[in-house]
Symmetry: C2
Subunit: 249 residues, 2 copies
DNA sequence: CGTATAGTTGATTAGTATCAACGCTAGTGG
DNA sequence: CCACTAGCGTTGATACTAATCAACTATACG
């Protein structure tokens, strides 16, 4: 969600060092929604903030809960998902540091948010943040830009869900994780999968068996390697990109 | 796209009369992005506006084109779609009067926009609108709310594409069209389908044959009626809703 | 009236789901 | 420290939903 190239204010591009953490949101200033704010604005914003430290597998809120808070990811990772009454699940988004979630939704959150690994997030009262946003055009624009980015990403995911084959879906998925990792200053290659096969399946509209089979298939085709089940090495980027876009093979 | 309940400023709820058309955007004031603006703001905004009158099946812009303009639908209907290189297509959204499109996307439009029927739209220079938005917080908020609404709708569509069966998809689709029609002040029931079966298929991640079969199936099950191929009568709303949510049948 | 296009229906195929068994890894307790 | 167990992931056999291929019908258009 919302990995928008931030308004270039600080930003020494993608450095390998753990970037400075923001007082207002606890995550990398480059990525967070408070990127580009003044010292003073950061101070004000941080006074509205409260931090949470959650173990893996903890729900932050559930679909339908009254939407009191807006959250920003400081460290760790989460999934956002929607359920059908018989338990079928669609993960609409994986979240990483800097990402914002829980915005909007007058009639309750539209999805459940749950941590994948031990995770630090911070939250702001929806109401207070609203007021602050009104007084801080740059923040308003930044949050808008991130939301718009999420919308475009959601449309790309609709293309994936509606029209790509299982192999194309999995290739797209690992490439996307890799790209997002580089945006956070991590190496593009050994891609870490903080989520289970079941989560990947529910994100791609597949079953765990199919996801597993496709991983094996891509491994046999020498496009990826799997040192262990939660790490992927992309051996042939160009080929994977072709596959992800539906070109030959 | 973005059928957000507008800030109640004028708004005699959902009346049956053709609602007054806005000088700024050419569509119903209740729904458009300029809802809630002052007389003076409307005047300013309308000076930025230029109107277009397009026949059915006309592309407004294509995926990848430089994103110069932002558009608002006055009358008619459009589809937004993305393509894979081999021609597979995913329609990400159908648009009706009041809806906004073409926002954002620094590296070109993320989708192609094409009219379904004879359509009036108006457009604003992305750059000029940006400036005006900066000076008009209420407009900024309104556009943000519409974008956020689109994001939530996109997530709902991800659930549909990833996890619903063909029958559930079609039931969800006709119900959604019906609901959106009522928001525009139209009757909930004889639902008009301004799009072809191919469009419906590309929106739901199905083939035209499957869409056609499911329509026939729902007809035999007495859940709908098809007076002609572009009109649906919903005979059993509760049952259709059950079906759309994945409950028994 | 004839032709082209959109939509429907039928027969068959294919891709992915489902059901089932098995292996691996990590955590537990003896 | 090592066997035991539970859960996750992988692999195989089969089933099923929706896609594909094909024919036909209805509707719109010249």
């Amino acid at each position: 969600m919302n990995v928008v190239p931030p308004p270039d204010v600080d930003a020494p591009a993608a450095t390998r060092e753990p970037p400075e953490l923001c007082r207002a949101c606890g995550s990398s200033r480059r990525l967070a929604f408070c990127a580009g704010l003044s010292r003073d604005e950061i101070r004000q914003l941080s006074s509205l903030r409260s931090g949470l430290n959650l173990p893996a597998g903890t729900p932050v809120f559930r679909e339908g809960d009254p939407a009191e808070w807006v959250y920003s990811v400081s460290t760790g990772a989460l999934k956002l998902y929607k359920l059908l009454s018989d338990g079928r699940r669609q993960i609409v988004c994986f979240l990483f540091p800097g990402d914002l979630f829980g915005l909007g939704s007058d009639d309750g959150y539209a999805y459940t948010a749950e941590t994948l690994v031990p995770t630090q997030i911070c939250r702001f009262s929806q109401r207070k943040l609203e007021t602050f946003r009104g007084a801080t055009p740059r923040l308003e624009r930044r949050i808008f830009a991130m939301t718009l980015h999420d919308l475009l990403a959601a449309q790309e995911q609709m293309l994936l869900l509606g029209r790509k084959t299982a192999r194309e879906k999995v290739a797209s998925f690992v490439l996307d994780l890799s790209r997002r990792a580089t945006l956070r200053g991590l190496p593009e290659n050994p891609v870490t999968l903080p989520m289970s096969r079941a989560d990947i399946a529910d994100y791609l509209g597949l079953t765990i068996e199919t996801v597993s089979r496709i991983f094996s298939h891509l491994k046999r085709a020498k496009l990826i390697e799997l040192p262990d089940s939660s790490r992927v090495i992309l051996l042939d980027l160009p080929q994977l990109e072709m596959l992800a876009e539906g070109l030959p093979s």
